[in-house]
């Protein structure tokens, strides 16, 4: 469901990128779903302690999550970019084979 893996069955171009770099593709998918999951899974952080400064942990966690998600998504974009450039340099051949 992530960007580079978005059309595994239909798009020849994407398919070759994923087939050629399964590890990077998997890392991208994991990062995206992790950034959703760790916010939605409330039991993980619905605690008052440890206090961070004057902030109960619950509030601290959510406030710090924001810049973290920005950085994680930035890293995802970097990986996607690499995926595409690599797929291109691997040449059209790899795309043709999987097609």
């Amino acid at each position: 469901m992530t960007q580079p893996s978005d059309t595994p069955k239909t798009s020849g171009g994407s398919r070759s990128a994923i087939a050629a770099h399964p590890v990077i593709s998997a890392v991208i998918a994991i990062l995206i779903f992790a950034s959703i999951f760790f916010s939605l899974y409330v039991p993980l952080y619905a605690r008052a302690t440890p206090m961070v400064g004057d902030f109960p942990f619950f509030y601290f966690y959510l406030l710090v999550y924001m810049p973290v998600v920005g950085i994680v998504l930035g890293f995802v974009l970097f990986l996607q970019h690499r995926l595409r450039t690599r797929a291109d340099t691997d040449g059209p051949g790899s795309g043709e084979v999987t097609r």
Partner: protein, 525 residues
């Protein structure tokens, strides 16, 4: 107007005039050779880059009602119905990264202006596209009206116009503000909110940074703020005989409410027409992606705005004022007025008023695009010229804005009604998700199945709210446009999905799965 602070009032008026000038000047900004096209007026020429896109999307998604309603909900009920907004604005960006770049690409390849355009092309179904367009317009109407509620909260605290019994005189400032908004939207289209968003975002940032650095110390520091909030929320409410609110959601129920509210709101935002309009106005696919990593900066601010609800709770004067007015939405305006010097109160109030203009303009444009493309051109006047299409869109935007104004000003009790409608709007719009978002990945779902699922989702979602609205008080919270019992939105969406999938099996087996599809697989990447 006896107790109006002259300094505050002057600063608000001056900043509003500045924004008015910008709104009209925007018509000349990034002018295209052929302006007589809906792409120019309705999508700003589809040419905004990362920088403008960031300001536009930020200004679009974080509405004035957000600045008022989120801290109001935190003030009133604490973490679940208020602070869930922070979780919502976290997950909205990774979710957007899954869907919106694809939506951008397909819209660019086929010159789609609205989500309903895409559904029409993808599923080849006019009736499904009409349902999508109709839902979008219906969901946006009360949302636009609620931007007025944000302005009204500020005007009330400023003491402007409240002393008169005459409706027209009482709402004159609101009237002027919205008339100006309607005219510059008509003239400049999406370029106006894009340019004004620079002023809005700058003022909002200034407001929140100063508020976070200055206010907590004035009321005794964060430690005192959190302990006061905790004590207040755990105390028993004299009305309900239950705890006033939730400080930290430790029970399973409150955690489920928290996360379904966050998820439901985030999913609904993906299909709200005004966010689609913002997304489609950008120049390249990479700009959408980049902004999904950059917009969380905006959300940090939202986290602190939400906490202002607790700051207001801690300041005795503000808490007393809000109690006296019996309106939690005034919490932040009263807080600013009490603790800021009057000139900075002016800046902060202007930020909220201008903050209402940007999303209201974009929403009216999104509605106008839907009406023009999917109702007027599709049903009323097929084969109309681009110039004719543009003219209809401009008039539709004008009609939508004036309609919202009339609704709020003349209908008694309209404000509460608008809030209820807005609540329903979030539940309605999420029912378009199977067609719009799942449609981006597969056309396996049958259009008739989608239509039935949509109808069931809307009816069941509405029924769930109707059943509860009579029993318990609701905190209708909107950030990005989606609101409190979004748990209902998720349940109704689940029902919608089950029906869409089940019927698709039946219809595909009975009639075959080959259908017209104007889009090609390579258009999505």
């Amino acid at each position: 107007m006896s107790n109006v602070n002259a300094v505050t009032f002057t600063i608000v008026v001056v900043l509003f005039l500045l924004v008015t000038l910008i709104g009209f000047a925007a018509a000349r900004w990034r002018r295209a050779e052929d302006m007589m096209h809906l792409n120019e007026w309705g999508l700003g020429g589809r040419g905004f880059g990362t920088f403008v896109g960031w300001f536009l999307l930020g200004g679009d998604l974080y509405t004035a009602y957000t600045f008022i309603a989120v801290p109001a909900a935190v003030f009133g009920a604490g973490a679940v119905t208020g602070f869930f907004a922070v979780s919502y604005t976290i997950i909205v960006f990774p979710i957007a990264l899954i869907f919106l770049p694809r939506l951008w690409s397909i819209a660019r390849a086929h010159n789609y202006v609205t989500p309903a355009d895409f559904v029409r092309g993808r599923f080849g179904s006019r009736s499904l596209a009409l349902a999508i367009a109709f839902t979008g317009i219906l969901a946006l109407m009360p949302y636009i009206a609620l931007q007025l509620v944000g302005i009204q909260a500020v005007l009330t605290v400023m003491g402007v116009g409240t002393s008169s019994g005459n409706t027209f005189v009482k709402d004159l400032p609101l009237f002027i503000a919205f008339l100006v908004l309607a005219v510059f939207t008509y003239v400049s289209g999406l370029r106006a909110p894009a340019l004004i968003a620079f002023v809005k975002d700058t003022l909002v940032y200034l407001m929140i940074i100063v508020a976070v650095l200055y206010l907590p110390a004035k009321v005794g520091g964060w430690g005192h703020i959190f302990s006061t909030a905790e004590a207040h929320l755990k105390s028993t409410s004299p009305v309900t005989h239950k705890p006033t609110g939730v400080f930290i959601p430790v029970t399973g129920n409150s955690q489920l409410a928290f996360s379904t509210l966050a998820l439901g709101s985030a999913l609904a935002l993906m299909v709200y027409p005004h966010s689609v309009t913002g997304v489609l106005s950008t120049k390249r696919r990479a700009i959408i992606k980049r902004n999904m990593a950059l917009l969380p900066i905006y959300s940090i601010m939202l986290g602190f705005i939400a906490l202002l609800g607790y700051v207001a709770l801690t300041d005795p004067t503000t808490a007393a004022n809000v109690k006296k007015a019996n309106n939690a939405q005034l919490a932040v305006p009263y807080l600013f007025q009490h603790l800021f010097p009057s000139w900075f109160t002016g800046v902060a109030f202007a930020a909220i008023v201008i903050g209402a203009l940007v999303p209201a303009a974009i929403m009216s444009i999104a509605s106008a695009n839907l009406f023009t493309r999917n109702i007027y051109r599709e049903y009323l006047n097929p084969g109309c010229s681009p110039a004719n299409e543009l003219q209809v869109a401009k008039l539709a935007a004008l009609a939508v804005l004036l309609g919202a104004l009339g609704f709020i000003v003349w209908l008694p009790g309209a404000q509460k009604f608008a809030i209820t409608l807005q609540l329903l709007g979030g539940i309605w719009i999420i029912q378009t998700l199977p067609a719009v978002l799942i449609g981006l990945y597969t056309r396996w779902l049958h259009p008739v199945a989608l239509l039935v699922g949509w109808a069931v989702g809307i009816v069941s979602g509405t029924a769930m709210v109707a059943a509860k609205a009579f029993a318990s008080p609701i905190y209708p919270l909107d950030i990005f446009g989606v609101i409190a019992p979004s748990y209902d939105a998720i349940s109704a969406l689940a029902l919608n999905l089950v029906i869409s999938v089940a019927l698709s099996f039946v219809f595909n087996a009975a009639f075959g799965s080959a259908r017209a599809d104007a889009t090609a697989v390579t258009d999505y990447v």
